[in-house]
Amino acid sequence: MALTSLLPDFLVTKLDHVASLLRKHSLWPMPFATACCGIELMATASSRYDIARFGAEAMRFSPRQCDLMIVAGRVVMKMVPVMQRIWLQMPEPKWCISMGACASSGGVFDTYAVVQGIDRFIPVDVYVPGCPPRPEQLIRAILDLQDKIQRTGTIDAREFADRSSYEGPTSLAKELSPQETIVAPGDYRTATRLRVPLN
């Protein structure tokens, strides 16, 4: 019996579904590696762990060619405008993985210069814990992101249009007056703060 007799003559699906299916298996990461997490990122890309198995091996060092930013390592305040600019230069649709404790929360670097989580300044889709995370954890993050793309993705990236507010943890979105000075050792919960009004 011919195989074609078993298959239907036509399929009904959603264009969004097909687009997401194709996109999620061909993520092009932009490695924004600023510290030791970058070494694990390299290990994940190389032969032993091999994220090519999940279609995310095409690392490009130009944001114009990427759709997945992997922020690996601590980000200092001097680097934040650079990171935001790189993020803005990436074409839609795009996603972001915050890799490691430092990128996600500042980690042990709770000093005046180190940003306490990049999610205050750019939107983040997946957080990876660890210091640094094992390559398996990054692969897990990419699988989770693929799942998220499949669930929420649309062909014209309209799912991003209504996400116009701060996406970081709400407990951190607390505004303190500029006069307030926090002297270490202080309250770790309120030590991070925002001076810019949230939109």
Partner: protein, 168 residues
């Protein structure tokens, strides 16, 4: 007592004190003498005593330090390349406008090191050819290695706009 200290004592009587900590011979110039004495003293060490290399230059803030009389200190670590001798010259300066003469004319390598001390402690080096911040962004207002600066800063690290998904 090393011979170069005799030369210094003859040229700059009463301008400095000396002390020894472990192997370090130190020449300490208090804040009231430092603006006039520091540059000629270092020039004397370089040209007449053979300390031809500026091995290091760093700052210290002695705020709330026991028995400290002056606040800011800039340490010049000099090395005599032919004998291997070392000497540390400590020059003090005080608020409200900490100021010391620049030694870039003696050692050009002091340029970036003085910029770093200026960046972190706010000590102004008069005569420096290009006294700008070297590590922190230019709009940064404070000098973070001062002891009265809080560890977590005054909120500079979060003073950036948030890029949301819709506008990116």
């Amino acid at each position: 007592m090393p011979g170069y200290l005799d030369i210094l004592a003859a040229r700059f009587p009463g301008a400095f004190t000396t002390s020894v900590f472990r192997d370090n011979q130190r020449v300490v110039i208090p804040a009231d003498k430092a603006p006039e004495v520091l540059l000629p003293l270092l020039r004397c060490l370089k040209e007449d005593c053979g300390f031809d290399m500026l091995a290091e230059l760093g700052g210290i803030d002695y705020l709330n330090y026991p028995n400290a009389t002056d606040r800011y200190c800039v340490v010049y670590g000099l090395t005599n390349l032919s004998t291997g001798q070392r000497v540390f010259v400590k020059a003090f300066t005080n608020d409200p406008e900490p100021e010391l003469p620049s030694v870039v004319e003696l050692w050009r390598g002091a340029n970036w090191m003085e910029r770093e001390v200026f960046d972190m402690y706010g000590v102004k080096f008069t005569g420096h050819p290009d006294l700008r911040r070297i590590l922190l962004p230019h709009e940064f207002a404070a000098h973070p290695l001062r002891k009265d600066y809080p560890l977590r800063g005054y909120g500079e690290r979060h003073n950036f706009a948030t890029v949301t998904r819709a506008e990116s």
